[in-house]
Amino acid sequence: MRALALLGLAGGLLMAFCQWLIYVYAPVEQSMGVVQKIFYFHLPVAWWCFASFFLSCISGILWLKTRRRKWDILSAAAVEVGMVCATLALITGSIWARHSWGTWWTWDPRLTTTLVLWFIYAGYLALRSMPLPSGGRASMCAVVLSSASSTCLWFFFPPGCGVPSTRQSLRPGAEGWNRKWPLRSLPRYSVSACSGSR
């Protein structure tokens, strides 16, 4: 418990130091201006969202293997942290997109897949809050987590893995792995499927 408090204190101090680095030490970027500083939040929360989801998958599998309650609790906690990070990543990304692309939202592959990811884990949290027998619910949650992480993997495949591509990602730094997904056409397909025409 004492070690936990010390770690928390150290984390807080380091976070404060990072704020100083972001706003005082780092110079204002020339072309994008002060908005660029949002990347100091956007990127870390996106990474931590993936780290949390990965941890939740591992602990879910460990629950299935060992049936020790701590793994179940850990996976649920990891998903909650990951959801906070994913939400923050979407919000900060949207603010940046408004400045840079002039729009709050676009059906870019990376944006869309992150949103789908958000929905997957929101579904998990809904499942988690259902009044079910605790053992069965924990197993079901672990199964959902392991399926969800396999879908996650597909979303973030590196280039040249045979992942289909028909559309380029607008995201900065996407040149190396422009997978050109047809996600933009997904809403159009849904609309045309409903109206019976294309």
Partner: protein, 108 residues
């Protein structure tokens, strides 16, 4: 033909896509179908959890199905999408093999 659609040049990728999408939907659906077993009201939960998970497979199915009706062939060829659908099937069939005992253990 129905709604005045014409068939494409290559029906084989579309048929393979149909088969793979079918298998993938059955595999993922029956794995997560345990969610809706028992009490009423869980069916809506199944769709909330299942639909986002199936999006990669549905995208592949849509793309491959479209080649069956589009007279112009796909610019990059259908093999990547077939690979994606096959990979999804493989993952969820393997997950089903490994996880079925946990899902349907009758603990409820």
């Amino acid at each position: 033909m129905f709604l005045g659609q014409s068939a494409g040049e290559e029906p084989v990728p579309a048929l393979i896509g149909l088969l793979l999408t079918d298998v993938g939907m059955a595999a993922s659906g029956s794995l997560l179908g345990a969610l809706s077993v028992g009490r009423a009201g869980r069916e809506s939960l199944l769709s909330i959890v299942l639909f986002p998970l199936m999006i990669p497979l549905l995208l592949a199915g849509i793309q491959l199905g479209a080649t069956g009706f589009n007279p112009e062939p796909m610019p990059d060829g259908p093999q990547d999408w077939i690979g994606l659908a096959a990979a999804f099937d493989a993952v969820f069939l393997a997950a089903g093999l490994a996880l079925f005992p946990f899902v349907y253990s009758g603990e409820d």
